[in-house]
């Protein structure tokens, strides 16, 4: 089955795959070829793609998933392969967001707060996926 992952920045992934495990708002689901047509909402988390003998991990932040005619399309706000995650940058982003929340909590509007929080969640998510790949080894 074909998997397409599209984000506002670019088409992240467009390849033939064998299995996909993805977190949805109703819990994690695994998708095998010839799945029934489905439309669902993705929850932020880690996605696993199995391709022949290999498996890739990806961090994904919210979005929608559609299966139509054995083609899976994922419209994600943000998605990145674990190999491409820059752990250092993610760590910095997390710290920046944490600091912002700590310092300016009183002055921030609700919307700004949500945005910073989203930044932080995204950073934490990337770190989580990156750590897994490093098998728990500390990230320098």
């Amino acid at each position: 089955m074909q998997l397409q992952i599209i984000t506002p920045e670019k088409i992240v992934f467009d390849e033939e795959i064998d299995e996909l495990v993805v977190p949805t708002v109703r819990g994690e689901i695994a998708i095998l070829p010839h799945h029934v047509n489905l439309l669902t909402q993705i929850a932020p988390g880690e996605m696993t793609i199995k391709q022949k003998q290999k498996s890739h991990h990806m961090a994904v932040a919210g979005g929608f998933l559609q299966i139509a005619d054995d083609t899976v399309s994922i419209l994600a706000d943000f998605a990145v392969r674990s190999e491409e995650i820059d752990a250092k940058k993610a760590l910095e982003a997390q710290q920046r967001a944490e600091e912002k929340i700590k310092n300016q909590k009183e002055h921030m509007s609700e919307r700004d707060f949500e945005l910073v929080q989203a930044d932080m969640r995204r950073a934490i998510l990337q770190l989580k996926v990156a750590r897994k790949r490093h098998r728990g080894a500390p990230i320098s």
Binding site: P8, T24, R26, L39, R111, L115
Partner: protein, 291 residues
């Protein structure tokens, strides 16, 4: 005939202008590249999202479930979000935009406005209509966060049934050489007629959680993305138009410099000639006197 000094001054002035326009052209070109990457890469995403929205909205039996797709209101008012550049010097883009804007205001005399960008702000201020808000468009690539305050304003009016539709005036980027101002409808979302074929009816389709749970968040996301795409297109058009305009200006300046240089040299030469004539003439007169 102009004097040498004034000609030299004009040449220098033209050179300075050409330097400035050349720099502006180069800045616009580099901004254009970035904007093009951003706008073109989000196009497939918006396209798919819009397909999905169409698809799922078709499935909902009760069309009144969300005001984004079905609005019931007595109000005939339209809200228009007008997007324009902050800065000028971008060819005919702003003139075209204002022309489109004026023809729209003639057709919709009672519309309410949200303006984004200084160039249209001045135009809207001349109208007696209500201006809800005015944002700065900025001279850098619009950020996604920029759509939130606009969306919030739209929502306040739209959900409370103060307005019946929301339109966007923007400049569509069709190529580097052609940008066309357009008015597009943002809300309510226009649903195309479903193509009911036997095949599509047979297909079973699951929704998790139900359609009614997915729809609101999808519509909200779609509106944000759609508006952002309009912002990107407008920005992209501005930069493309500026690049071309500045390129033309640089070329014109070069032509003018060349013409002025020719005239300068001609004047200089004729001046030398007349000086020589003076000298030889007076010499002759002297010799004639001696004889």
């Amino acid at each position: 005939m102009a004097t040498l000094i004034s000609l030299r001054r004009r040449i220098r002035a033209s050179m300075n202008v050409s330097k400035t326009t050349r720099a502006m052209q180069m800045i616009a070109a580099s901004k254009l590249k970035r904007a093009q990457d951003a706008a073109l890469s989000s196009r497939p995403y918006v396209k798919r999202l819009s397909d999905l929205v169409q698809d799922i909205s078709q499935k909902v039996e009760d069309k009144t479930i969300h005001p984004y797709i079905h609005q019931e209101t007595d109000s005939k008012k339209t809200l228009i979000v007008a997007l324009s550049p902050d800065k000028g010097l971008c060819g005919s883009l702003i003139t075209n935009l204002i022309r489109e804007f004026l023809s729209f205001t003639k057709e919709n005399p009672s519309a309410t406005y949200i303006v984004c960008g200084k160039k249209l702000e001045a135009q809207v201020a001349k109208l007696p209509n209500e201006v809800l808000a005015s944002f700065v468009f900025g001279t850098t690539l619009p950020k996604f966060e920029a759509v939130f305050p606009i969306i919030q304003l739209i929502n306040d009016l739209y959900i409370n049934k103060k307005i019946s539709s929301v339109k966007v005036l923007y400049t569509d980027f069709s190529s580097i050489f052609s940008q066309v101002p357009k008015v597009a409808t943002l809300l309510p979302i226009t649903l195309s007629q479903p193509e009911v074929t036997e095949k599509s009816q047979k297909k079973s389709q699951l929704y998790e959680p139900g359609v009614n749970e997915i729809l609101p968040s999808m519509l909200k996301h779609y509106i944000e993305m759609a508006l952002y795409q309009f912002l990107l297109e407008s920005y992209l058009s501005e930069q493309a138009s500026r690049m071309i305009a500045m390129q033309n200006a640089t070329n014109n300046a070069k032509d003018i410099i060349e013409a002025l240089k020719l005239e300068y040299n001609k004047t200089r030469q004729s001046k030398i000639t007349s000086e020589l004539l003076d000298i030889t003439g007076s010499r002759r007169a002297q010799q004639y006197g001696e004889q």
